[in-house]
Amino acid sequence: MQGFIYLVSAYAIVWVGLFAYLAVIMMRIRGVRTELAAVQELVREQQEKPTTS
């Protein structure tokens, strides 16, 4: 029985680990997309303003 517990915990750790990592990746991608959208806003605003130097 004890061997079974080890087996389950090993697989559980792998699954939890991979899913947690995947979740983190998704969050990071979403974060970058938001940031990109915001920066692109700023770029367009700057382009629409008359250029002053």
Binding site: Y6, L7, L18, Q40
Partner: protein, 247 residues
């Protein structure tokens, strides 16, 4: 679900009149890899728990082997990819090699971490000890440290060409060193032979088949994760560049 797709709105960047919108192209490659990985994983689980016969010597916990070994191999493959990408970056000076390198380093770290944990648990069941300083385990641990060192270096140096170059040099030194480390630990261990972690002798065909299927599954998973992180790196680089353009 935020999956990576090819459209990073580079086209929108050039057009002045553009409606800011979310990504229009569906993430085909990501979805395909994810589906294949899922199928592979289901198949592997079935084979590991229902198809392969129980090992006569080690019993049920031996099935950890079918996850542990592919994960460890992919962890080392990732380091190889990191090294190749590093050489590519130093040679071609193209940023994309660096994105590839950073992606492989990140995914590789995760895989080696999981390999060490599963290996330790497996060792506990088979040999009664959580750790032993044999050549393979020790080298894997050192590899883990090199990965961590790489991640720390890149993190501290930020997102600059200098950071990419330094990381590349570290990776190249690392990949040359790993075989030397393995051999030196081997020599050291022959003086005190102790429990070897691994399966001795020839493997029956069911075992080999299951192992191969599992390996394919994890390779698919690796490819999927690589694609995500690569696109992530690309977007972060783009965001940084745009920030710089504004100022």
């Amino acid at each position: 679900m935020a999956l990576a797709n090819r459209d990073t709105q580079t086209e929108r960047q050039n057009s002045t009149i553009g409606t800011p919108g979310q990504n229009t192209r569906p993430p085909i490659a990501s979805l395909a890899l994810l589906t294949l990985t899922f199928i592979g994983m289901m198949t592997s689980i079935f084979m590991i728990f229902l198809y392969v016969p129980t090992d006569a010597i080690e019993g049920i916990p031996q099935r950890i082997f079918y996850f542990h070994v592919p994960i460890a191999w992919i962890g080392m493959l990732a380091f190889g990819v990191l090294a190749v990408a590093s050489i590519g970056y130093l040679w071609k000076k193209d940023e994309r090699w660096d994105w590839l390198a950073r992606a492989s380093a990140e995914v590789g770290t995760i895989f080696i971490t999981l390999a060490l944990i599963t290996g330790s648990i497996w060792g506990r069941t088979t040999w009664g000890t959580w750790w032993t300083w044999d050549a393979r385990l020790t080298t894997t641990l050192i590899l883990w440290f090199i990965y961590i060192g790489y991640m720390m270096l890149r993190s501290y140096m930020g997102r600059t060409p200098a950071s990419a170059r330094s990381g590349a040099v570290l990776a190249i030194i690392g990949v040359i060193d790993i075989p030397i480390i393995y051999e030196s630990v081997n020599w050291w261990r022959t003086l005190h032979p102790q429990a070897e972690v691994g399966t001795p002798g020839a493997l029956p065909p069911e075992v080999v088949l299951t192992l191969m299927i599992s390996l394919v599954t994890f390779t698919l998973l690796y490819s999927f994760l690589m694609l995500q992180i690569y696109q992530l790196q690309k977007m972060q680089a783009l965001a940084q560049q745009l920030h710089a353009n504004i100022e």
